[in-house]
Amino acid sequence: MKNLFNRFRILVHPLCLFSVVGVLTLALIYCHAYVPRVVKVKQVVPFLHATHTDADKVNMPCQGCHIGAERGAGAGMPPVSVCLDCHRHVLADDTRLLPVHAAANMDSPIYTGEPLVWKLSTPLPAHVHFHHSRHAQAGISCAECHPSPDALVQHTMSSCLDCHRKHALPTDCDACHH
């Protein structure tokens, strides 16, 4: 029978296999963690930021709903009653807004009181502590980091460090990791 196990095959074939797998893994990690990606997540209510913030549409400021953006550590989500302030009368019969009425509109026949659960599309990992108000009060506008809130980009450490290095701000590890 032909000798399957010659010296070449024992050494080179696994080497090739492992190096191919290794390179693929590294490429995957790079694409996942180092290249800013747009993340699209399907929410309970198909909320569109553009409709609410565009200058020729409702033109609401970001802080109108995300009250923590200027003074809090996290920007926060608005309570559903804020949505109802307008939507009790605007688009009151729209089927897309049924979960909003079910959550907070006590006059609605479908009211359950169950809160609206939003999915976080680009959450920061648990070991990162980002302070919104520090950045907002330094004069950074919302649009600088969130240019398109409907197509949120997953921020990476390199995007934070690029800005910090450009403006000679502290890059000590414990500024964000503590």
Binding site: G72, V80, L120, P123, P125, H131
Partner: protein, 684 residues
């Protein structure tokens, strides 16, 4: 083998090979779990996401209430800190008060009332309250056993109850008794925990009076958190044989309560963080108590029960917190301001001091952590080494003879002991079983034994020769962080170690791991014994060395140095080689040998401090000078930051300073320094 290749279809070997390859289908699941955001509907506008909100309240205690600050995130209290507004009266917050937050979340708290040991619905108990209110109105004999201490609400309600001829009032707490003298270091520690030995003159009867009156009573309400049946055999016998319906309100999750075993009804009581109140401290101030959270489970407070008895047994439905609040608004002048401050200065009668009893052969002392044993279930206190004795765990005895660990055997009981110079007789913790065991025993019948191998003990090292030097530091740009610890002020109470645990989410590890010396605490109190047997306490944590040996040896650069002089620890980078802890000459680093944080999250429902990352298995951790507080102070631009340990220290021994601004001490003790490291923590 060759026959297989001739068969039709796929071979067994190929089938298994392809089945194994199908495991690759699981690859898309390899990502982070979905995170959600839900915003509560009625959040007040000052409760911002991610920010802490602090509320002033107080912990009621037999010898005077202890004001404190409850630090809350997302509406739930996460840790307890000292109230800065109260600093002029009494500094810091003792360990046992800080640890009491665990009792709020303890799963072992009574879930529903019991009657004769069997579960009893709360509605049925409330119906009984209506019946008892009627009994009171008829003038039948009803007794009330209150805790020791002065509560403004209680006094007002008792005034109203006095209209009923059959009502009689008593108060009892073994923690309010006289303390034996003769052991000055222990006295200092007991006083730093519980305040001076004082007695409030409330005009209530004593436990002996109640024992005599018990056979004639029809109903007895027991509100005191102490365990009278465990300490007083006469009362226990009277309680067992009486015909009265006894109701015991119980807030503690401890299962060792003898009195509730002898009571007919045992009803869950609100934790002090869930109720309104106003209690006097030992200095004549009225300390206010406000609920930090709605009761986490159906429970009644003492004020609600008394209110119900005064109003035909009606307990308001929605938690009933509003009734006590109504009383308080009438009693306290300038309500809103007082609530923000946390206390009304000179708003309560001053108690009278009780002089210490003379020193005897066998003395019983109130343990600074466990009091009379009622806090022995608390996981944080159990893992806090008690610096005077060096033991962590159950509470220890002190024996004469200088400076070594041992144990004390009395009958079948074995108590860890520390032989302390200057102590002339035996000192035992005031636990009911020790008091019972020692009755009738002579001093010589105690056997001093070898130390307990299964109990964690921190040895006392010989005190190094004192060396002083002028402090110097390098670094020019402000801020440059350093710390000054005044060793002449440290009394070894251990409040700092507990505050560090609460602030930095340091998990408990369990007794087995403690005996392997895997205690995770970042700050420890070192014990040094001088030649003449005097014990010195030195709080030691990461000294943020300017030339840190740990930074030089980390293979993955998980520990770096900042421009402000801090030695940072980057948890996600750490690979767990533990080279840094081997290199550290101060033994300042602790390692997560197991997933302690995850195990604790599953056991304890106390939310963790969101400002500090939870560490997983295989990660090194150490003191960071509370960098999260330093960062928060920079964000807010307010007063200079204080570390958690600094804030709770009763003597102000620890101080975080900016070496560029603050005046440096003239001389520092370098006996504990290792040459070449240039530590930033200075001892004076």
């Amino acid at each position: 083998m060759s026959e297989a290749s001739h068969r039709e279809g796929i071979s067994r070997r190929s089938f298994l090979k392809w089945l194994g390859a199908l495991a690759l289908l699981a690859l898309p699941a390899c990502r982070r779990a979905q995170q959600y955001a839900v915003q509560p509907e009625d959040c007040p506008e000052w409760m911002l996401p991610g920010n802490s909100t602090c509320f002033a309240t107080c912990m009621p205690w037999a010898t005077g209430a202890i004001p404190l600050l409850a630090v809350c995130y997302d509406g739930l209290p996460v840790s307890l800190q000292s109230n800065p507004a109260y600093e002029a009266v009494r500094r810091g917050l003792p360990a046992f008060a800080q640890a009491s937050i665990l009792d709020l979340y303890d799963e072992n708290r009574l879930a529903q009332p019991t009657r004769a040991g069997k579960p009893h619905p709360m509605q049925a108990f409330k119906a009984s309250l209506r019946a008892w209110a009627a009994l009171l109105k008829e003038g039948r004999r009803v007794g009330f056993l209150f805790p020791a201490g002065y509560s403004a609400i209680r006094m007002a309600q008792v005034e109203a109850l006095r209209q009923f001829n059959g009502a009689s009032f008593y108060s009892y707490d073994v923690a309010a008794g006289a303390r034996p003298g003769g052991f000055p270091e222990l006295e200092t520690l007991i006083q730093s925990s519980f305040g001076p030995a004082v007695c409030f003159d409330t005009g209530f009867g004593s436990l002996a009076d109640l024992t005599q009156a018990l056979p004639q009573l029809e109903v007895l309400f027991i509100f005191t958190p102490a365990d009278p049946a465990a300490f007083d055999a006469d009362f226990a016998a009277a309680l067992q044989n009486c015909t009265a319906e006894t109701v015991r309100l119980m807030a503690s999750p401890s299962h060792a309560d003898v009195t509730s075993g002898l009571s007919l009804y045992v009803v869950p009581q609100t934790h002090y963080l869930e109720e309104w109140g106003a209690d006097a401290d030992a200095y004549g101030n009225l300390c206010l108590r406000q609920p930090i959270t709605q009761p986490l489970r159906a429970a009644l407070s003492e004020a609600e029960v008394l209110h119900a008895l005064l109003h035909q047994g009606e307990v308001p439905e929605a938690g009933g917190v509003s009734t006590a609040k109504g009383w308080l608004e009438k009693l306290v002048p300038d309500w809103e301001t007082a609530l923000k401050l946390g206390y009304v200065p000179a708003g309560a009668p001053k108690p009278r001091e009780i002089s210490p009893t003379p020193h005897a052969d066998i003395n019983f002392y109130l343990h600074p952590y466990y009091a009379d044993g009622r806090f022995r279930h608390n996981a944080w206190l159990r893992e806090n080494y008690f610096p005077l004795s060096g033991w962590a765990g159950d509470g220890e005895a002190f024996l004469p003879g200088g400076g070594s660990p041992g144990s004390l055997i009395m009958g079948s009981l074995r108590v860890s002991a520390w032989r302390h110079a200057g102590v002339k007789s035996y000192w035992l913790p005031l636990y009911p079983e020790y008091v019972k065991a020692s009755v009738g025993m002579q001093k010589d019948e105690f056997i001093a034994g070898a130390p307990h191998a299964e109990s964690p003990h921190r040895a006392a090292k010989p005190l190094p020769m004192r060396r002083v030097a002028v402090p110097r530091f390098s670094g020019k740009t402000s801020p440059q962080w350093g710390m000054v610890i005044d060793l002449s002020r440290c009394i070894g109470c251990g409040a700092c170690t507990l505050a560090c645990r609460a602030e930095n989410n340091i998990p408990t590890v369990g007794l087995q791991e403690m005996c392997y010396d895997r205690d995770l605490q970042w700050l420890r109190i070192e014990r040094y014994l001088s030649a003449d047997g005097e014990l010195h306490f030195v709080p030691m944590a990461c000294r943020q060395c300017e030339k840190a040996p740990c930074e030089a040896v980390c293979p993955v650069n998980a520990t770096t140095h900042t421009a402000s002089g801090l030695n940072t620890m980057v948890y996600p980078r750490c690979w767990g080689t533990r080279y840094c802890s081997a290199a550290c000459p101060y033994q300042a680093r602790t390692f997560n040998f197991r997933d302690y944080a995850k195990a604790e999250q599953e056991k304890m429902s106390r939310p963790h401090n969101p400002q500090v990352t939870l560490r997983s298995r295989g990660v090194m951790e150490k003191c960071t000078y509370c960098v999260q507080r330093i960062n928060a102070a920079e964000n807010a631009g307010g007063p200079p930051p204080q570390t958690a340990c600094q804030q709770v220290c009763p003597t102000g021994a620890i101080k975080l300073i900016n070496l560029c601004d603050a005046p440096l001490p003239e001389q520092v003790i370098t006996s504990f320094d290792v040459k070449g490291t240039h530590p930033r923590t200075l001892y004076t």
